[in-house]
């Protein structure tokens, strides 16, 4: 019997319909062929630098540091990338790979809409057809991003099944891929799903930690004491962690969306409240009931509103290399407003979960310590929802 592939400890694997097996095998072969190909990498780097605006800045948040009175805080500004989030790093890589494979059509799932916008952008740039699946609930929460995707020439399909959020969008994108494989690449947006997606997406996002390392060594001459990022599926977090995994002195902290709290049912904190399971192509931790039915999860953040977590995060948790902490809606909204007022930066509500945790721990750390917080995206898309959260109705 052939071995199960793509394992991170006990997690990962390829739990998908037989119809898709040759598609993921073909994808793995293409990725192995191109990942170290100089021409592919030259093309990708040109896109990342000239089109997406890399490298992204590592900004010393001096006012925030002074205000909190503890560790020095740096912000990794993925929010300044073209399309406004880290998602573009992965999408440019996958779209270029799909093009090399002769695919002419991209499909994608999206939660907050950032991955959908990034995919629609890459499709426009590379002259590919694009269809984005988005939970109907999220199309309402993130109406601006729906408009952006349409403007970029993509079709947006509202998914009405289940909880009508990110997990249902993933299910529907997987169903669509089984319908149409030969010309279509499923551009998965996070470090999840069946092998080889968790590895491919991680590799394309690892540029975040590669840059943090270089930039911080240049500015401070040393590594950070902690790297903090928000975790839904976990792509910006794994990107922020990856090149520090072997640097044991660097604490890696993932911030999960606790919603209304991990002691309530309205939470999306998978590592903190879930258990081991098999879903969406992978073995990992999932929020589920005692019979393995996937639980409806909740977070104010559409991008973190997912009942699972990428298999490599599950593994980093198992071996104690990374820590996963819950951050509530209230804490995230407070951090969203705090960063706007303190540093003049409006973070995505997803990224605000990481800012909130930095606010919590920085005062307890010495002034010689350094924290890097990844701002995975910008918060323009969230302004209307946060206003509503505060009881104010504004027109977008």
């Amino acid at each position: 019997m052939s071995e199960s592939k793509g394992r991170f400890g006990i997690h990962g694997g390829q739990y998908i319909p037989e119809t898709l097996m040759n598609a993921v095998i073909e994808l793995e072969a293409a990725y192995n062929k191109y990942k170290d190909d100089p021409e592919f990498n030259r093309e990708l780097n040109a896109l990342l630098n000239d089109y997406a605006g890399r490298p992204s800045r590592l900004y010393y948040a001096e006012k925030m540091t002074r205000d909190l009175g503890g560790a020095k805080i740096y912000l990794k500004r993925e929010d300044l990338n073209h399309t406004g989030a880290h998602k573009i790093n992965n999408v440019l890589g996958q779209a270029l790979l799909a093009k090399k494979m002769g695919k002419t059509r991209l499909i994608a799932e999206t939660g907050a809409g950032q991955h959908g916008v990034a995919t629609a952008t890459a499709a426009a740039l590379m002259g590919m057809e694009c269809v984005v699946f988005m939970g109907e609930e999220d199309t309402k929460r993130q109406a601006l991003n729906v408009y952006r995707m349409k403007l970029l020439g993509s079709e947006v399909i509202p998914v009405k099944t289940g909880t009508a959020t990110l997990k249902d969008a993933v299910s529907e994108a997987m169903r669509e891929w089984t319908r149409r494989i030969s010309d279509t690449h499923y551009c998965l947006g996070s470090v999840m799903g069946p092998h080889p997606f968790p590895t491919i997406v991680r590799d394309f996002q690892a540029v975040i930690s590669k840059e943090i390392k270089e930039q911080l060594l240049e500015k401070e001459g040393k590594l950070p004491d902690a790297v903090i990022a928000c975790v839904g599926g976990g792509s910006n977090a794994i990107g922020s962690f990856y090149n520090f995994i072997n640097d044991k002195g660097v604490a890696l902290i993932g911030c999960e969306a606790a919603g209304r709290g991990i002691d309530t049912f309205e939470t999306a904190a998978t590592v903190n409240t879930g258990r081991l399971g098999i879903f969406h192509g992978m073995k990992s931790y999932f929020c589920q009931d005692e019979f393995g039915q996937i639980a409806p999860v909740y977070s104010i953040s559409a991008g973190l509103d997912y009942p699972g977590v990428g298999p490599e995060h599950a593994y980093l948790h198992d071996i104690g290399r990374a820590e996963y902490v819950p951050v509530t809606d209230d804490e995230a909204v407070e951090a969203f407003e705090y960063l706007a007022k303190t540093e003049g930066i409006i973070p995505a509500i997803e990224s605000a979960h990481a800012v909130a945790y930095a606010k919590k721990i920085a005062p307890k750390m010495g002034k010689d310590k350094i924290i890097v917080v990844t701002l995975s995206g910008r918060g323009d898309k969230d302004c209307a929802a946060i206003a509503r959260y505060r009881g104010e109705d504004i027109y977008e």
Binding site: M1, S2, E3, S4, K5, G13, Q14, Y15, I16, P17, E18, T19, L20, M21, N22, A23, T161, G162, K167, D168, S171, M174, R175, T178, R179, R180, I181, L276, G277, I278, F279, H280, G281, F286, Q288, E290, F291, G292, Q293, I294
Partner: protein, 256 residues
């Protein structure tokens, strides 16, 4: 495992799929017995899953109705225990890997043997991941029935060689549900299957009429029908036993 073989002996098998607990377990029991009375050769019993990624809208709806009605894996085991007091044809479970994994493979398979389940179909457990449950399946004599798809190509031989029970041949790309046509070259896939195993193979996905069922069964050993039956249950609710029975009768007669 011999019981599964008997479903295909000297005839083309007609295999209905029924989601347990849609709309409730009492109805499922009546529908299964009606299908048996009207000539079903083997029945696929679906244990509902919250997020059935291989299903089209019709079976997704059945899963949702069943779960909203409060059905659980344990209650379905009780249903099968009751059915086995008079139902003698082979019964197999169709569900998703997490339902089995969450229950515990050992506990799940031992329950299957105890209540008289002959096999297990898991659409999200491809050949490479069989290791997840195969030992427990062998230990308790539950056949792990594999799926072969139109895209399987070079994988057909490998899957067929390791198959147990029967082979579920997926007729077309996409998810479950009715289709206006089936364009896959079923005959040539069946040829490769036959070269690699003596097990029977039945075709499913997109079959809703006696004509299509006959056409598919002529090319293989049987036809599997899900969505067309679920649609009847969706329409008739608790009064589904009779119309499903009539449908099964029409389909089995069509195969003769």
């Amino acid at each position: 495992m011999n019981r599964i073989k008997s479903a295909f002996e000297n005839k083309k098998a007609f295999i209905p799929f029924i989601t347990c607990g849609d709309p409730d377990l009492e109805t499922t029991a009546k529908v299964v017995r009606a299908a048996v009375r009207n000539g079903a050769s083997l029945i696929e019993l679906g244990i509902p899953f919250s997020d059935p990624t291989a299903e089209g809208p019709v079976i997704q709806g059945a899963n949702l109705r069943a779960l909203s009605g409060g059905v659980t894996t344990d209650k379905i085991f009780d249903l099968v225990r009751d059915l086995r007091t008079d139902v003698e044809i082979p019964l197999v479970f169709m569900t998703y890997a997490n339902v089995v994994f969450s229950y515990g493979a050992e506990r799940f398979m031992s329950a299957c043997r105890e209540i008289g389940i002959d096999g297990l179909i898991l659409p999200d457990l491809p050949y490479e991941e069989r290791g997840e449950f195969i030992e427990e399946c062998h230990k308790y004599g539950v056949a792990l029935i594999p799926l072969i798809a139109p895209t399987s190509e070079n994988r057909i031989a490998m899957i067929a060689k390791a198959a147990e029970g029967f082979i579920y041949l997926v007729s077309s790309l996409g998810v479950t549900g009715e289709r206006s046509e089936i364009t896959t070259d079923i005959a040539s896939i069946v040829r490769v299957i036959r070269e690699n195993t003596d097990l029977p193979c039945a075709v499913g996905f997109g079959i809703s009429t006696p004509e299509r069922a006959k056409q598919m069964a002529d090319l293989s050993d049987g036809a599997i029908v899900g969505s067309a039956i679920i649609k009847i249950i969706e329409k008739y609710g608790r009064d589904s036993a009779e119309p499903v029975g009539e449908f099964v009768k029409k389909m089995t007669e069509g195969l003769k």
